[in-house]
Symmetry: C2
């Protein structure tokens, strides 16, 4: 068994060879701060709430054969939160080993293992005394979904520790799924995709072909409406069209994205380049027509779903945190499969503007949905109060559906693995973070670099070679699509860029590449087909989407008109834009034959990174600002 040094995704063939946490470490800066927050606050916070609400206790009660119908707590998918938490703990433990965390993982593993039925079935809400029968509600039961997260947790645990206790539980659960849903089993799928991506990675870890075959079988079955009709439509479950026939992601965003991630894994492992091309085209079209400027996906609250093309309302944007995590999973798999660094642009956009936005400064609160426009002032909720349901509202300590916190934790804790990769004899840097990378090229030659940068506050990235074998190899650094006018040097000499930085050189220890990205603020205009932000402008700075924030009794942001005849300016006080404040029309019927437009006064509007919004008490906020 190849433990492969802490990598989330290990394709057996790929354009890019991913690095593990053992090869790529983030040592400081923007993301190290967030990893530290996760490790010191968020994971414990998650554990406390899952204990308090009985989500961990469900496993204990199930192991005791207690009458689960009465005693079981939480929603049908709460098991998966425990698994995601264990996965996040595993990555964190791989990043920064801790005996306490190790004990906690062992404890939780034991709790989970004890609840597993003799035949491998594992779910605390079904099949027990007083509970509904196993697989009696595939649309909403989330049984296979939970197993999928168990498999991902077990893969993470194994790859970061070598410990295989949880892997044993996962294999038994997967074997049960293969038996129950195999070619001779129930010809059905789970309402919430996730088992596919879990089975595929388990197959990669264990080398067991049958897990991959089962994942492929689930994919072939989906899209044939085996799930009963529902008010939200079959598209909600991605069950309206066979995967190969769809042209864009639709329905529940997280469901569609998890499914796509699993499908990419299967396409890669089975050498199905046609399917891979279809999936890449679906995701590309989703980026082109159904994605917010922040990289957020999903515009509909009702069903947490993608809207039609170009339906991207800012003032009720959903952009669920979990959809950001799921889209990162898809983009990373496409990057590995195709080698196209543009997918790293997508990851950068999402992690800086969705993932980093969600988590509160205390690491103990989070946004479930990430709106781009807050019209009424935000409000604080008590930190001991569970929010009912899911969806909009302020950062909160906990939601009845609390998928996002463990999800962003598992991504953030493993983020070192998303920083770099190897393509033949090129070492590629995909994300900019202070760190240390030590790996080998395709031919086994050892290479290493250190990265120093204050990105995204500053656009200079300094890459210093720390290990080289004396032969030529390529050090490549992604240049983001927004970074027009980027420049670079090698040991102080200008280096030409060809879209990206690709320096082929006989490197020596101490050689230094400097990449300068123009991270100053810039205007961004939307496609005119996005009605919701017509005639508006946004400001971005480097990878960051900026926003305007206002106190409740301060400026009415809905009356601001930004002047675009002069660019946004960066000064000591941060970024600001020239604006006009339009006196609103008096109250009355808001539609008139005369074109409205009241008197205006000049103003200087300060902006801040979107990920910083809502952190200083009640405010209103806008990303998209109407033009003067």
């Amino acid at each position: 068994m190849d433990l492969t040094g802490g990598r989330p995704v290990v394709p057996s063939r790929s354009a890019v060879r991913p690095l593990g946490l053992g090869e790529s470490r983030i040592t400081g800066g923007f993301w190290a701060d967030r990893q530290r927050l996760i490790g010191t606050a968020t994971l414990d916070h998650g554990r406390q709430w899952m204990d308090k609400l009985g989500w961990t206790g469900n496993f204990v009660r199930a192991a005791q054969g207690a009458a689960g119908g009465v005693d079981r707590r939480g929603r049908e998918f709460s098991d998966s939160e425990v698994y995601k938490l264990v996965e996040a703990m595993s990555w964190e433990s791989g990043r920064l080993p801790s005996a306490d965390r190790e004990r906690e993982i062992v404890e939780l593993t034991g709790m989970v293992a004890a609840a597993q039925a003799g035949d491998g079935y594992l779910h605390t809400a079904f099949g027990g005394p007083g509970q509904a029968a196993r697989y009696s509600d595939l649309s909403w039961g989330h049984e296979l979904y939970c197993v999928g997260h168990l498999l991902q947790a077990a893969v993470a645990r194994t790859r970061t520790s070598g410990d295989t206790d949880l892997l044993g539980v996962a294999r038994r659960a997967a074997d049960h799924v293969c038996a129950a849903f195999g070619p001779d089993g129930l010809a059905a799928v789970c309402g919430h995709p996730e088992i596919e991506v879990g089975l595929a990675e388990l197959a990669r870890l264990t080398g067991e072909q049958r897990y991959l075959d089962q994942a492929a079988l689930f994919l072939r079955r989906r899209g044939h409406r085996t799930l009963p009709p529902h008010q939200f439509g079959s598209s909600y479950f991605s069950d309206d069209q066979p995967i190969r026939e769809a042209s864009v992601l639709r329905g529940h965003a997280v469901r569609a994205l998890y499914l796509t991630a699993g499908a990419i894994d299967v396409a890669v492992e089975t050498g199905d380049d046609e399917l891979l091309g279809i999936l890449a085209a679906q995701f590309d079209r989703t980026l082109a027509t159904r994605t917010y400027l922040t990289g957020g996906m999903g515009s509909r609250h009702t069903d947490e779903a993608f809207g039609d093309d170009f339906v991207l309302p800012a003032d009720r944007s959903y952009a669920e945190t979990c959809a950001g995590v799921a889209a990162t999973m898809v983009a990373w798999r496409l990057l590995l499969a195709t080698g196209d660094p543009r997918y790293a642009d997508t990851i950068e956009r999402i992690i800086y503007n969705v993932v980093a936005t969600s988590l509160g400064d205390d690491g103990r609160s989070f946004f479930y949905a990430n709106t781009l426009h807050q019209r009424t002032p935000t409000f604080a909720v008590p930190d001991d109060e569970e929010q009912l349901g899911f969806g909009g509202g302020p950062r909160a300590a906990w939601f009845e559906v609390s998928c996002c916190l463990a999800n962003l934790s598992r991504l953030t804790a493993s983020l070192g693995a998303y920083v770099a990769g190897v393509v033949d004899d090129s070492l590629w840097l995909y994300q900019y973070a202070p760190g240390e990378i030590r790996t080998t090229l395709h031919d086994g030659r050892a290479v290493g670099v250190d990265v120093a940068t204050a990105y995204p506050d500053d656009g200079t990235i300094v890459v210093t070679v720390t290990e080289a074998d004396g032969g030529p190899w390529t050090l490549a650094v992604r240049v983001p699509e927004w970074a027009k006018g980027a420049t670079a040097t090698l040991n102080g000499e200008p280096l030409a860029l060809d879209g990206h930085l690709r320096a082929r050189h006989t490197f020596r220890k101490g050689d230094e590449i400097r990449l300068h990205l123009p991270v100053g603020p810039r205007f961004t205009f939307p496609d005119p087909r996005i009605d919701a932000v017509r005639d508006c402008v946004a400001v971005e700075a480097g990878p960051l989407v900026l926003c305007a924030e206002a106190d409740p009794d301060g400026l009415d942001l809905d009356t601001v008109r930004v002047r675009t005849d002069r660019g946004p300016a960066a000064g000591d006080g941060g970024v600001h834009v020239a604006a006009e404040i339009e006196d609103p029309a008096p109250d009355g019927w808001p539609y008139a034959t005369d074109r409205p437009g009241g008197p205006r006064s000049a103003a200087d509007l300060p902006l801040l990174p979107y990920h910083r919004w809502g952190r200083r008490g009640p405010v209103t906020m806008r990303v998209w600002l109407p033009r003067a």
Copy 2:
């Protein structure tokens, strides 16, 4: 007992005295066509579906004491659909008596009466064998809501026929409610307001003060969060703020509007002018900040709710048909109470653009939600298929939640009563429809007019005096706010307008007033705070909102840019506007530093009344058109 000749609302004091179906008849034109459709198709359609789905059968089973927990069909509120249908049948029967319909009403009345418990309680989903206990789920049980509709149906039945059988059932039900929820009873409210407006009108009909007192008590109780917390928030139930403290309608639109209608009734009957002023201000602010151009209300699908101020997305507008009916109830009550004809403008906007839009040409299908922008082509659903849940989608024969059809039927069938009213010695015409009006002024003098018009296709309204007593009185005709440049004559002589037409004259039989309203197409621009339609224009013609419609393989409406440097034109082929078609940007990330804008070609864009949209096979549609 005063049967008051078929009026929906009979305040004991008011600025305007409403006329009943016996005094005001619509004899032809736009609304007579729709009344005929309701009478010949819609009511039977509703009855057939309610029989087929067992909603009427629920009463039979309840009367038999059958195990309702298993056998009961439909949602908790299905009883109310039967009541609304009986109400609609009653108005229709009052408009155009029919022995068959009379028999049907008697049959349904008997069915309902038999299901009533000995103590007056009446609901087929609670309190029976195997069912949940009475009032065990006030948030969602809809028990008092259903009684409210029963009371309205009984009032309509009594006022249109004099028959009091259903009134007896209603009185017993109301007496039970007063006992169960009176000052010494359960200090609670129903999750869905409606009982208030029902009790108030029952009090008016019967002269029983205790019904009014109970309505007032329910109003005082609401807003104190007696309903348990819910994911949608207390605002969903209008239970977040006491009525007197709110400044705008919020939460579930139909709930908020029914509550407001009942509160106006109570304010009027108790002489509480302060409350009346607060309610008028809430509704006025709702019109100013939370209402679509069509008069549609409610912008959120998730909770069928009002959005924040100016959150009025066109491409996911909800604008539930029932909210249109409910807003008409509110506007009519405010018109009666204040005498302000502007509320008749509101009614006109809603009935022509929401109510008339919903019903299919066959009278057997309807929109539940009325979007202002259809991006993907509409599709037909089988006419024998019940649509799951509620909400968006095409006109359908039936929805699991089928409140809208009976609701629009009861309004349309009683619409004659909304045409005119008496203010002192003035006869006011509020709506323009061919018809006959015979009534008395405040001092008992008999007056009558006939109205002839092809409105809204043509803007000429001819009012001929058919009865006059030889003394002076005032014939007043509303002039809509949009009708700039309206002119009028009395017997061919010019008549000055003072905002409205008010002709004080010693009328003789045959005297003729002609009002000319400019119903030609005009551009309408939105308040710039409505982000969703920024830099767009709509076209209206008279009371009608127009729209553009396109075949799926025809024009891409999202690429149209309307020229506003020349007005919309009306010709033989209907209304059209000059437009440019913009080549869309190639697929890719839809946000760019360069301001987009492809090449454009000129086009002539035909428009049609919004209420006509979606009646000729699959189409896309836009009301708001981006400006060139």
